[in-house]
Amino acid sequence: MKFGVVTFPGSNCDYDCFNVVKRVLKQPVEFIWHAENKLDHFDCIILPGGFSYGDYLRCGAIAKFSGIMGEIIKYANEGRGLVIGICNGFQILTESGLLPGALQRNESLKFICRNVHLKCENNKTPFTNKLKKNQVLRVPIAHGEGNFIADQSTILELKKNKQIVFTYCDEKGQVNDASNPNGSMLNIAGICNKKRNVLGMMPHPERCSEEILGGIDGKLIFNSILASK
């Protein structure tokens, strides 16, 4: 399965993603520079975390007009492959309209960098098929703007179409205010599109896919992607 990792000016998790695909999954992977406008031979595109374009104006707002994003929007809409946006990548996906809603400043006003627990709300996606429904994962977050918000009709749509893929929970899988790190509506940590080929999530699975990094729960997500083909 051929992966592409997009590098925007200011991306800083691109090498982490590249490393996981190449060394852990042992799959072919290439960096894609943001100014490129060809996306022919990839099965999965990763939009990595970081601060694309310095987070100027709004997180992800400038990136959506980079050469490559126009292609990625077409790629996703035509169902040519999978797109996963992690952290800043999730912000870019909402700004681009590939996913609904927006990510605003954390309720605590603080940048949060720590492990959280995630509950798999939907395991019938190409990104979660190796997980059990309600399975709890431990994955780190590192963001200042991860507070998911959407209007009421969008939230209803997300629920109805089972597009909520991950929610923040405690280690027992309880989804409540105490387990919500950033104020996200319904504790939302990750959502997919209706077609199920685009996933955005704030937590970083690429930072917990090797034992040496303290956990391998993130690998389940990458393994699901592999199993989806």
Binding site: L57, E107, L109, N147
Partner: protein, 93 residues
């Protein structure tokens, strides 16, 4: 040529942490009279257009496309003809 000010604000009722922080700081300075502090963005630019209406149309378009995110923000703008602005300045001198 027109001078443009685009104001982008958070929608009412949404979290505005900068506003909250500033309100807290102002109150700690003793300004107890204040409330509802919010912070927005001012984006200034010059735009070439034949008429004010034409300029307004373009600004509207770019605000929706890029400057504001309709999910969380609202925008409004002011347009001023640069020549009129200059003559106003000249008369006031």
């Amino acid at each position: 040529m027109f001078n443009v000010h685009v104001y982008v604000r958070m929608k009412k009722g949404l979290l505005d942490p900068q506003g909250k922080a500033i309100e807290g700081a102002l109150k700690s300075l003793g300004y107890d009279q204040i409330q509802d502090v919010s912070v927005g963005k001012l984006i200034e630019m010059k735009i070439k257009a034949k008429t004010k209406a034409e300029a307004g149309k373009k600004i509207e378009e770019m605000s929706k496309k890029l400057l504001a995110n309709p999910v969380i923000e609202i925008f409004n703008y002011e347009i001023e003809d640069i020549r009129q602005a200059q003559s106003k300045e000249a008369t006031s001198k």
